[in-house]
C-alpha cells in the first residue's frame, strides 16, 4: 500500500526532438488513502496541473502530442512510471490507481455521438474482484479489476448504475442518479477500498456539436441601417452646394470689380 505522506506527483517527461502538436490529458486520483496529487508535465512545453485529492480529477489540459514518459511521484520519490504516446487531437485520462503497489493506466477517451449517450465503465477499486455493471437493471458488462469496458451507446436519460458480484446479482455499489446526456460521452470509474468508500465517479469525456457558429442572419437589419451611405450623400450635396455658392460669389466679385 502506498505511503503518501507528502503527496503524489505524476511526472510526464517528453522525449526531445519530436514534433509538437496538441493532445489533451487529465488526471484522476484513484489511489486510496492518497493525499493531494499533481499531474506534472516535464520537459519542453511542460506544465503542472492542479493538485487533486482521492476521487477527484483535473480538467483536460493541452499537452504536446508525442512519445512521453509518465512517472508517479510522491514528494521526490518516483513510485511508478510508464511510457506512452499522446496523439494530436486525442483526449486521454491518466488514472493513478493501486493494486498492491502504485500503478498508472492511460485511457484513450472517445468522442461523442450526436443524439446518443456513450458510456464506458472502468474498474479501479483494487479490493473488488470482477464486477458486473448494470445500467437500469440491465447488465452492461463484466469488468475485471484494473480494466475498462468498451463504450456503449445508450438512450439518454436518468439511470441507476450498479456494480455487483456476477453470480449473486446483489449490488455492492450504486449510483442512483446517473444522468446520461444526449450528444456526450462519459466514463464511470469505480473507485475506493483501502479505507475509502467504494463509489462511482463519472466524468464527461466529450460533447458532440459543430465547431462553427450558425449563420443566422441575412443582413436585413444591416440593410436598413446604413449611416455611412446617408452621410456620403449629404457630403456630396454639401460639397456641390458650396461649389455653386463659391462660383456665384466669385462671379459677383468680378462684376463689381469691372
Amino acid at each position: 500500500m502506498l505511503s503518501l505522506a507528502s503527496g503524489l506527483l505524476i511526472l510526464v517527461s517528453i522525449a526531445p526532438g519530436q514534433a509538437l502538436a496538441d493532445a489533451q490529458v487529465r488526471f484522476l486520483h484513484a489511489v486510496p488513502g492518497g493525499p493531494t496529487a499533481q499531474l506534472q508535465l516535464a520537459g519542453e512545453g511542460g506544465a503542472t496541473l492542479d493538485g487533486v485529492g482521492f476521487g477527484q480529477a483535473t480538467t483536460y489540459s493541452r499537452v504536446p502530442a508525442r512519445r512521453v514518459k509518465l512517472a508517479l511521484v510522491a514528494g521526490s520519490k518516483r513510485l511508478a512510471s510508464v511510457r506512452s504516446s499522446f496523439e494530436d487531437g486525442v483526449r486521454y485520462t491518466v488514472i493513478g490507481q493501486s493494486a498492491g503497489r502504485p500503478d498508472l493506466r492511460i485511457l484513450r477517451d472517445s468522442g461523442a455521438t450526436p443524439a446518443r449517450a456513450r458510456l464506458r465503465l472502468v474498474h479501479a477499486a483494487p479490493e473488488l474482484g470482477t464486477v458486473e455493471m448494470k445500467l437500469g437493471g440491465r447488465s452492461l458488462d463484466k469488468v475485471k479489476k484494473g480494466e475498462a469496458s468498451r463504450y456503449s451507446d445508450e438512450e439518454p436519460g436518468d439511470y441507476r448504475l450498479t456494480a455487483g458480484m456476477p453470480a449473486s446479482g446483489d449490488a455492492l455499489v450504486m449510483k442512483p442518479d446517473l444522468n446520461l446526456v444526449a450528444g456526450t460521452a462519459a466514463t464511470a470509474y469505480l473507485i475506493g477500498s483501502g479505507g475509502e468508500r467504494t463509489r462511482f465517479v463519472v466524468l464527461e469525456d466529450a460533447a458532440s456539436g459543430p465547431e462553427a457558429g450558425p449563420a443566422t442572419g441575412l443582413g436585413g437589419l444591416a440593410d436598413g441601417d446604413r449611416p455611412w451611405l446617408l452621410a456620403l450623400v449629404a457630403a456630396l450635396v454639401t460639397g456641390g452646394l458650396s461649389g455653386v455658392l463659391y462660383s456665384r460669389s466669385s462671379r459677383r466679385r468680378r462684376r463689381a470689380g469691372a
Partner: protein, 256 residues
C-alpha cells in the same frame, strides 16, 4: 488680400463641413449594427453564464448580464423549502422534442423544427422557424439544449431579432410534442465571434436543464454574413402538463 464676402464665407463653411460629415459617417458606421461592440473575451463570459445557468449561483460578469438569479424551489406541500437545483425534474421519462417556442416579451411565437449538423455547422432552419439541435439534449433534460433562429431576413427583422436584448428573468416557453410546456428564465446573454464558437460552453452536460438560444450579432459583412453569434442562457423554472397541473414549480428571485 480682400476679405471674402458673405457668399464665399458660406461656401467655405459648407466645404469645411464635408470632411466633418465624412468623419461623422465613419463613426456612425462603426458604432451601428446593434451591439456589435468588442466580442473579445466572450468565451469567458460564456463560461460564467453557462455556470450560472447550471447552478443558479456564482459570479456573473456585469458586461455579460445584469443580474444573476438564485433559485427558490417550491412544490405543492413543500412551499418555501429550498432544494438543490441539481435534482432531475423529469425522473426517468425523457421530455418530447420541442414543437413551439414563445417569448411573450418579444412578441415571438413560432414553430421549432429539429436541425442537425452539416459541413461543420448547425443546419440553419427556415427563416420563420426556430431550429432545435437534435444532436444534443431536449429542452427540459439535464444538459444544454440548443435552439437557433434568424436575427434578420434579407429585408427586415427575423424571428430572433429581439433575443439579444432580452433581460435576465424574461420568460421563454417551450412546448413539446406531448403538449407539455416548460418555462425557462433568461440568465443573461453574451456575444462571441462566429469563427471561435465556444463549443465547450454551448454543448454537452450541465448540472440542470439549461436552454441556449443562438442568433447572429455584430457587424454584417456582405457575402460573409454577421461576424458574431449572440448566446442567450436560460434555465428551467417551471413545467406544466397538458392538463394544466403544475407538478413542480421553481421560483426565481434576484441573486447576488
Amino acid at each position: 488680400m480682400p476679405a471674402p464676402d458673405r457668399g464665399s464665407r458660406l461656401a467655405l463653411t459648407l466645404a469645411a463641413l464635408v470632411p466633418a460629415l465624412a468623419a461623422g459617417a465613419a463613426v456612425l458606421s462603426l458604432g451601428s449594427g446593434g451591439g456589435e461592440g468588442n466580442a473579445a473575451g466572450s468565451a469567458g463570459a460564456a463560461d460564467q453564464l453557462a455556470r450560472a445557468a447550471d447552478r443558479g449561483k456564482g459570479a456573473i460578469d456585469p458586461a455579460a448580464t445584469t443580474r444573476a438569479l438564485a433559485p427558490v424551489i417550491a412544490e405543492p406541500g413543500r412551499a418555501g423549502i429550498e432544494a438543490s437545483p441539481l435534482e432531475s425534474l423529469d425522473g426517468g421519462i425523457r421530455p418530447a422534442p420541442p414543437q413551439r417556442i414563445a417569448i411573450p416579451a418579444a412578441g415571438l411565437d413560432a414553430v421549432v423544427e429539429p436541425v442537425s449538423s452539416r459541413g461543420g455547422a448547425i443546419k440553419v432552419p427556415d427563416v420563420g422557424r426556430a431550429g432545435w439541435y437534435d444532436g444534443g439534449p431536449r429542452p427540459g433534460e439535464i444538459g444544454r439544449a440548443l435552439i437557433i433562429g434568424h436575427l434578420d431576413r434579407r429585408k427586415g427583422p427575423g424571428l430572433f431579432a429581439r433575443v439579444p436584448s432580452l433581460l435576465p428573468g424574461t420568460d421563454i416557453d417551450l412546448t413539446d410534442r406531448r403538449g407539455e410546456v416548460r418555462r425557462f428564465k433568461v440568465v443573461g446573454t453574451t456575444q462571441t465571434p462566429r469563427d471561435r464558437f465556444p463549443t465547450q460552453y454551448v454543448y454537452g452536460a450541465a448540472d440542470a436543464p439549461v436552454l441556449v438560444l443562438v442568433t447572429c450579432g455584430g457587424p454584417f459583412r456582405p457575402g460573409r454574413g454577421y461576424r458574431d453569434n449572440v448566446l442567450l442562457y436560460a434555465r428551467l423554472a417551471e413545467r406544466t402538463t397538458p392538463r394544466g397541473r403544475a407538478p413542480r414549480v421553481v421560483l426565481y428571485r434576484g441573486g447576488p
